[in-house]
Amino acid sequence: MTKPMVPSDAELLRLMLAGDEQAFTTLYRRHKGHIYRFALLMSGQTSIAEEVTQEVFLALLRNGSRYDPARGSLTSYLCGAARNQVLLLLEKERPYVQLVEESDDGEAVPITQLIAGDDPLGDCTRNEANRLVRQAVLALPERYREVIVLCDFQELSYAEAALALDCPVGTVNSRLHRGHALLLQKLRAAVRLDTTASDAQGMRCFA
């Protein structure tokens, strides 16, 4: 028995642009998770992740014909669009919420200043280690954060990430190394701070 043919992204996109609703929903289901999670990891906010997902697929509806399969995968193309949207929205948010303080050398502020999620109750119940990793990623400067999210969390190849970020593969490689070093540094600091906080809690006076 032969397996049913799975249509490629390029084929689905062609059908979608011709008005095929089934092709659109298939394409959307195939990629919506990637885009949503990318935006969520980049921003730490579900509202931004939702908005980015909407905007990316609306842009695909309007300008999908600009995608060239010869240049790379549709995943890279969509991640590139999502990245631009995320940066745009984070820039708009910046006057209200200072997510990351960057110094010239790419260092960020201590992670303790960033522990103020939208959902504090949910934060408490989530796995502590995962929470620390996500917050450490959020505290990274954008240029390192986007590479780490794409290559480590989304498992894109360096070439695919380079296409999404519109930069050479060598830049992806060097940013990934630097990003890892910063991430490890933050995680070490976060674990230390956590330990200090729990020690202090143990010494609390109830008199």
Partner: protein, 253 residues
């Protein structure tokens, strides 16, 4: 292999990817004789494990159904009217603003309305003989008057138009609609239901979609259409249910 060579391989070694057997072996042999690089590899492996755990935790995270519905509606709107390429569905932001920002926006709107009211009253009291319509924008769309007659129509109360709020929508949709309409001081009509007998307040969630329609669409809900502008695009907000079906419409100027 020296430490510098090892550093360039550390990530790939930790992930166990993109390396041929010989290079991998050389890297691992180096860690046996170099404590620093061994610690570096252990740290990268620990980070990789943590990243995998986060990926597993997020595996089920997907956009909510309202995003699916809104996009499906946008696709349908986009494909139903391909000839009129001016139909550009714009999904209203589903952002959850902090309460202080909402309060600030609401306060701003109230102050604006108060200032406009004072200004309008003082200007009309200075010119009592002037025709009530002369200084007003005279909106083509007249809220709460689905089919007004062209002659003998009383002057439109601008305060009433500016402060017009949808009446049958849930509070969240009204709040969003109010905040959105305040951005560019838009004049909006009331919401006209598109499905008779349905109570929108009973729906779990709603989405507003801004679209453009030909001027002739005004007649569909009983609004007057100017023959000269019948082919010009008219902005409208469509209320969508979770299933992507349009429930109500209002027109915007």
């Amino acid at each position: 292999m020296n430490c510098q060579d090892f550093e360039s391989l550390a990530l790939a070694l930790a992930r166990d990817s993109l390396l041929d057997n010989t290079t991998r072996e050389q890297g691992l042999i180096h860690t046996e004789g170099c404590e620093r690089c061994a610690a570096r590899l252990a740290e990268e492996r620990a980070l990789h494990t943590r990243v995998r755990a986060v990926v597993a935790e997020l595996a089920g995270e997907e956009p909510p159904a309202r995003v699916d519905a809104a996009l499906l509606a946008a696709f349908r709107a986009h494909t139903v009217t391909p000839a009129t390429s001016n139909v550009l569905p714009m999904l209203i932001r589903a952002r959850h603003w902090p309460s202080w920002r909402l309060a600030a926006v609401a306060a701003g709107i109230l102050i604006l309305i108060a200032v406009m009211t004072i200004f309008w009253r003082s200007s009309s009291s200075l010119k009592p003989q002037r025709d009530g319509r002369a200084g007003l924008p005279a909106p083509v769309i007249t809220p709460q008057r689905p089919a007004p007659k062209m002659g003998g129509e009383p002057p439109v109360d601008r305060d009433q138009v500016v402060a017009e709020q949808p009446k049958k929508l849930p509070k969240s949709a009204r709040r969003r609609a109010s905040a959105d309409s305040s951005d560019e001081a838009e004049v909006v009509t009331q919401f006209y239901p598109l499905r008779e007998g349905e109570d929108l307040t009973e729906l779990e969630s709603l989405q507003l979609v801004r679209i453009e329609l030909p001027g002739s669409a005004l007649s569909e809900v009983g609004l007057p259409v100017d023959p000269e502008t019948v082919n010009e695009p008219v902005k409208a907000d469509v209320v969508l249910g979770q299933d992507g079906l349009a429930r109500a419409i209002r027109f915007v100027r």
